[in-house]
């Protein structure tokens, strides 16, 4: 199949950049269900995938979309689905099947104001924990990347596909309406400049191949065989042995749970990606992620103009959470202000936990609809700055 990369400069929405990123990463199966503010990605995939020989389907519901991408990935195609809050709630049912069977695929969440249907066309950041802990049953870890610009929407989508192949697991792109609908410059590089990880295939004969490496839980780059090539793969929702046979043995359950957690936690060094700005001399740090990072950076600049020593920190890979990086910031500054578009406080909980009491952590929440305004954040900085 052709690479499908269309190098050049474009003026597009984040949602469209995600589609181009997916195609550049080798995605050749997409299944979606219409939902605002994510539908533009589905529309772009419907136009683009046939051009590169890929399959794009609109399924009957969110459950069918995520399960069909799981099936397509088992069938050998890189695959993606996309949704927003209410649809993500449904997709979580299928996510467990992907996690359990270590199936590489990408799920995009363009967050909107919730809960329930909330405000369909407007921004929110309420799915931070949903994507990480929403799959029933626990006993797993998860990778999620969060873009804050159209360019990053492209770049991180490619990265999501790469990580899904390397770690053999579903990976989330945790966007939001601000990113999804912001129309700005996208530069798509030449194919030769893109790092694309291909599906890793076994090099040992079938009798020596273990579909699920339960005895080496931290191993990554574990192959995923094609169907019909004699590997006799077994994929199931049940706790399974290394060969994929359902088991109720406590020992197997323990090994499988450790495999699903340790493959991520034993490779954390490969999963740290943060943005730091003006933190060298900072006494105060503003933390935000996704589209809400944009007003936060503007507010930090406003504070700097007033001579305040304020810096900015953003997790780009939000799960696994960058505990070590946050602790380093907390050890340096007196105060951390976490700005996010939910009232309940989600990112702030992780920051507080990782800061280990080294700095005072405050929350500037919002129910969503609009991102924070730079002035709102600046006023909060001024109120808390000591």
């Amino acid at each position: 199949m052709s690479s499908g990369v269309k190098p050049g400069k474009y003026f597009v929405q984040g949602d469209e950049a995600i589609a181009e990123g997916a195609i550049a990463a080798g995605c050749r199966f997409f299944a979606g269900y219409p939902i605002t503010p994510a539908s533009e990605t589905s529309e772009a995939m419907a136009r683009r995938l046939p051009e590169v020989g890929g399959v794009c389907l609109q399924m009957e519901d969110e459950l069918a979309s995520i399960h069909s991408i799981g099936g397509a990935s088992v069938g050998g195609l890189k695959a993606m689905t996309i949704s927003s809050g209410p649809g993500i709630s449904l997709k979580l049912e299928g996510l467990g099947w992907g996690i359990k069977n270590e199936i590489p695929y990408v799920v995009v969440d363009i967050q909107r104001a919730g809960p329930s249907n909330g405000v369909a066309t407007r921004v929110g950041q309420g799915d931070f924990y949903t994507v990480r802990y929403g799959s029933a049953g626990g006993n797993c870890s998860l990778i999620a990347l969060s873009p804050s610009s159209t360019q990053e929407a492209f770049d991180l989508t490619v990265e999501c596909f790469n990580l899904s192949e390397i770690f053999r697991c579903p990976v989330f792109l945790l966007g939001d309406e601000t990113v999804g609908h912001t129309r700005e410059l996208l530069v798509i590089p030449e194919e030769s400049k893109l790092n694309v990880v291909k599906r890793i295939k076994p090099t040992v004969p079938p009798e020596q191949f273990l579909m699920y490496p339960l005895d080496t839980p931290g191993v990554i780059h574990h192959p995923f065989p094609n169907i019909g090539e004699g590997y006799g793969i077994c994929v199931s929702p049940y706790t399974h042995t290394s060969r994929g046979y359902a088991s109720t043995a406590q020992e197997i359950q323990e090994k499988m749970a450790k495999r699903l957690v340790y493959k991520i936690t034993e490779n954390l060094d490969q999963l740290v990606r943060v943005q730091k700005q003006k933190l060298e001399d900072a006494e105060f740090a503003v933390v935000a992620y996704g589209g809400n990072a944009r007003p936060a950076i503007a507010a930090v600049d406003m504070a700097r103009e007033k001579g305040m020593k304020v810096g900015f920190f953003r997790p780009i890979i939000v799960w696994p959470f960058p505990d070590g990086e946050v602790l380093t910031v907390a050890e340096k500054v007196k105060t951390i202000l976490v700005c996010e578009l939910n009232i309940d406080g989600q990112l702030v909980r992780e920051v507080s936990r990782a800061a280990k009491g080294k700095a005072e952590v405050y929350h500037l929440g919002s129910g969503g609809v609009e991102p924070h305004l730079p002035a709102q954040i600046f006023n909060e900085i001024r109120r808390l700055y000591k």
Binding site: G53, E60, H67, S68, G71, G75, G94, G228
Partner: protein, 284 residues
């Protein structure tokens, strides 16, 4: 603990050829009809000359699936409860060159997965779906199913079932499947030829099998543990559609129709139509 399989090391030739012997003995209850359907499927596979290189077994959740899962010597893909058609859609679109044989149950296909079933038929996805209809939730211990007869006492209808059963063959016909048939587990020869026909037809083939579940349907609905009693009940409550023409509506009430309901091999499905779309719009 030793089992019959361990002791004798003797297998039916079809088991020997197509099933994983390390997964035997299977976990079906004594007297269960699932073995008859698997036997018919294996015979159809053998007569058509299919191999593990070109055929994948796909399951859902329930007796139909838990018992057949990871027994096929080739690849086995077992979906979440009800999601078998969704998973199969991805599999078939990714690998249109391979045959996918789906084993689903009346709860899997008719209740939790009903919407996916309807839309797979509408798309006329080129897979062969075999519905194991035992009229009850067997794996979970005898709860009412959308196929349970009215009045039946089950563990969740202690005062009798007040709902009417779902005719999934009629649904498959209405939604657009290429081939739809229903048989009893004892109709071995027609079942084998139906499965063969289903594998060969382009588009979705849906073959429902009424099978005996002495453990739960027998116990709760018929108050018997005898497989032959359940088989007798199925025989009394079913009639071939040709014979049904001679019966009055009163005589037909509560009876399952058997036979082939639709065979439209000319009807195209999503797999072919997508290939046509690619021919027109593929640029690179």
């Amino acid at each position: 603990m030793s089992t019959v399989g361990d002791t004798l090391k003797v297998f039916h030739p079809l088991v020997d050829k197509y099933l994983r012997k390390e997964r035997m003995p299977h976990m079906a209850c004594p007297g269960c009809g699932i073995g008859q359907v698997v036997h018919a499927t294996l015979l159809a596979i053998d007569e058509l000359g299919l191999t593990p290189k070109d055929t994948v077994w796909v399951q859902g959740v329930g007796c139909s699936s838990r018992i057949t899962y990871s027994t096929w010597v080739g690849d086995n893909v077992d979906a979440h409860h009800g999601r078998i058609f969704a998973v199969a859609t991805g599999l078939k679109m990714a690998r249109p060159d391979m045959n996918f044989i789906l084993f689903t149950g009346d709860g899997d296909c008719g209740a939790i997965g009903g919407n996916h079933f309807i839309h797979a038929c509408r798309r006329n996805l080129d897979v062969t779906a075999i519905l194991f209809n035992n009229g009850i939730y067997g794996m979970t211990g005898g709860q009412v199913a959308p196929t349970t007869p009215p009045g039946a006492v089950t563990t969740t209808t202690p005062y009798g079932n007040i709902e009417d059963p779902f005719d999934m063959c009629q649904m498959a016909v209405a939604a657009g499947a290429s081939y739809v048939a229903r048989w009893k587990s004892t109709d071995f020869k027609p079942l084998v030829s139906s499965i063969k026909k289903g594998i060969q037809v382009k588009g979705l083939s849906f073959i429902e099998v009424l099978l005996q579940c002495p453990t739960n349907f027998g116990r709760y609905v018929l108050k018997t543990s005898q497989p032959q009693e359940v088989l007798k009940w199925i025989k009394e409550h079913s009639v071939h559609k040709k014979d049904a023409e001679k019966l009055t509506p009163e005589e037909l009430a509560g009876k399952y129709l058997l036979g082939e309901f639709v065979y439209r091999p000319e009807r195209s499905g999503i797999v072919e139509r997508y290939q046509e779309l690619l021919k027109k719009h593929r640029k690179e």
